[in-house]
Amino acid sequence: MARTINEIQEDIIRQVKASHTLAPLNSTSKTAVWRMWTYIVAVSTWALENLFDQHKVEINTLINEKAPHSLRWYANKAKEFQYGSELLKDEDYYDNTGLTTEQVQERKIIAYSAVTEQSKGLRLKVARVVNGDLNALLPVQLAAFREYMSRIKDAGVNPLHIESKEPDSLKLTLHVYFNPLVLNANGYRLDGTSREQPVRTQVKEYLKNQPFNGTLVLAYLIDALQQVDGVVIPHITQAQARYGDLPYTPFDVKYNPDAGYLRIIDEDDLQIFYLPQSVIK
């Protein structure tokens, strides 16, 4: 841990006082030259100590990620996948000579990956980014990715489920008690600064900002809705979700999206009832 500038400077000053040759320097002025020097050295040392800290963190992540064939290794290797490149013979990486950084980035189509261990084999979920939002891989991309993973995976990891699915669908019913000085009964801002309903936007933003393969916790969603200007009480009366073609299942505390992420697919899936409520003290 890096020390603070003050700690370092105090240490230097203590050493100065203890030194036989330097001890006569006793000016207490803020402009004292000897004191300025201790400050200069303290600041540089502080900067250096911080750099060391950062370096340590970087090295630790590197070591963790290089740890052969842990779950994280799979997740990182999935992100290394380049659509349209050929692996080096008998190796698990690409030869990118002749390609610009932009070209390499363009080929790395997998933006998010998550690995979970199952009683048999591994399950690998991946997603790409299209127009700023998560999306499933195209079938042709998925086929290429499957081939890539089957070439680099450890022997014996069988089965290795690779999935890239459309988002889980979320259905929410909300009762929003709103401040009638800020919002109107349809959920729009009275001052007209936004054409969207702020609550609706906030729900979508919240889902977007969830970490990949993260759990949706309704209590946290309520916390986020509470931040919306004009919302007095956000109340979730019903929450349902489904993946694939399964029927919607209600949940009341949290939901772990099967695809790794979930969205409101149809605008009607998010029903908001607005009820006026003066501010509660």
């Binding site: 006569p24 320097l25 207490t28 002025s29 803020k30 402009t31 004292a32 030259v33 300025m36 020097w37």
Partner: protein, 97 residues
Amino acid sequence: MKDILLNKETDLDIAAGDLVTGSSELQQQELLLINNKGTIKEFPATGIDAYGYLQDNNTTELLYEIRRQFLADGMEVVKIDITGNGQLNIDANYGNS
């Protein structure tokens, strides 16, 4: 009160291959007078920047600022004034140290 001394060019005074140290009260006062606020990074509020007052007709503010900064730096101020021919007279010291 002792510090590392500067020469007339406000550069380090070096004699016989070593830094010169010595009584530094006048040097501290001079540094306070000529430095701008923000020059001394450890204490950004320290510095009078007396040159900045050159265009001023009214000297009260300058005298007030000098007094304030000198007190803040730990001095006892006996008298600060500007004589008729424009000379700045300062009588202030750092007490016993």
